[in-house]
Symmetry: C2
Subunit: 164 residues, 2 copies
C-alpha cells in the first residue's frame, strides 16, 4: 500500500479522463432519453440483440456483451419486455437459461434510435479527434480494458472490429 502520488502529467491525464467519465454518459443518456425514451444502456441491450443471430441471446451472453451484472440486465429486460421491445423464453438446450429476443417493435425502435445516437457519438467523440487520435484512443482503450476486463468478458464485443 506504499504507492507514490501521481506526477503532474499523470494527474493531468487522469483529471481529464475523470471529467469525461462524469460528463459523457450524461450527454449520451440525455439525447437518447429525450429523443427515444431509451437509456443508453437500454439502447445497448437492443443493439446487441439486433446484431445477434436470430436477434436472440441468452441472458448471460447479453450481460457479457453489455457488461452488466445479471441482476441489472434482468431488471432492464423486464422493463423492455413490459414495453414490448423484447421477449423472453426459456432456452430449450439448458432449462436453467433464458433467451431474450428482439421483437418487431424492438427492431423498429433500434432503427429509429440509431441515427440520433450515432450523431451524438460523432459530435462528442469522433469529430473532435484527429484520425491519429482515434487510433490512439483505441489503443489506450485496449490497454485499460486489459486491466478492467482481464477475463475478456467484453472482448467478443470490442475486438470484433480489429484489423479490418
Amino acid at each position: 500500500m506504499d504507492t507514490p502520488w501521481l506526477d503532474r502529467r499523470q494527474l493531468r491525464a487522469w483529471i481529464r479522463l475523470a471529467a469525461v467519465l462524469e460528463l459523457l454518459p450524461g450527454v449520451l443518456d440525455a439525447q437518447l432519453r429525450r429523443d427515444t425514451g431509451l437509456t443508453h444502456f437500454d439502447y445497448y441491450v437492443l443493439a446487441m440483440l439486433s446484431e445477434a443471430p436470430g436477434r436472440t441471446l441468452r441472458m448471460t451472453e447479453l450481460a457479457r456483451q453489455t457488461n452488466a451484472t445479471l441482476p441489472r440486465l434482468s431488471h432492464v429486460v423486464s422493463r423492455l419486455e413490459g414495453r414490448g421491445l423484447v421477449e423472453r423464453f426459456p432456452c430449450p438446450a439448458d432449462r436453467r437459461a433464458t433467451n431474450a429476443r428482439l421483437t418487431g417493435p424492438g427492431w423498429g425502435k433500434v432503427q429509429e434510435a440509431a441515427p440520433g445516437h450515432v450523431a451524438t457519438v460523432r459530435q462528442h467523440v469522433v469529430d473532435p479527434l484527429t484520425d491519429e487520435q482515434i487510433d490512439q484512443l483505441a489503443a489506450i482503450g485496449d490497454a485499460l480494458l486489459a486491466r478492467l476486463d482481464p477475463s475478456g468478458t467484453m472482448a467478443a464485443t470490442y475486438t470484433r472490429y480489429d484489423e479490418g
Copy 2:
C-alpha cells in the same frame, strides 16, 4: 440528421471507450465504498474542498468543480453533513449562497482514503499506459472536453496542471 455511420476504425475506438465508460466507474466506486464507505463522487467532493482555501467553497463553485448539478450536490452534501464530514453555513457576502466547509473528521477521511484511491487509479489507468499514451490521453481528453464542457465549467479543475 443525415449523419454517416462510423467506419471500422472509429467504431473500434468508440466501442472501447464505451466499455471503459461502463467498467471504470464501477471499479473506482467499489474500491472506495469497500475501503472507506465513500462514493467516488463523495470522495471528489471532499477532495475539492480539501484543496480549497479555508477548505471552504460555495455550493455553486463546488458543483462546478465536481461537475455535478446543484440538486445532486445538495443531496450529497446533506448526507456528508449528516456524517459530520462537511458543514454548511450561509455565505456572509451573498445571503442566497451557502458555503460548504470540510470538517476535521472530513479532512481525516480524505487523508485516509487518498492512498487507496490513488493506488486504484494507478493500477487501472496509469500503469497500463506508456508515458506517451498518458500524454495522448490528456490531449484526447482536452479535445473531448471542449465539446462536452464548452462553457469551461470544469476548466478550472482540469487545466490546473497544464504546462508544469
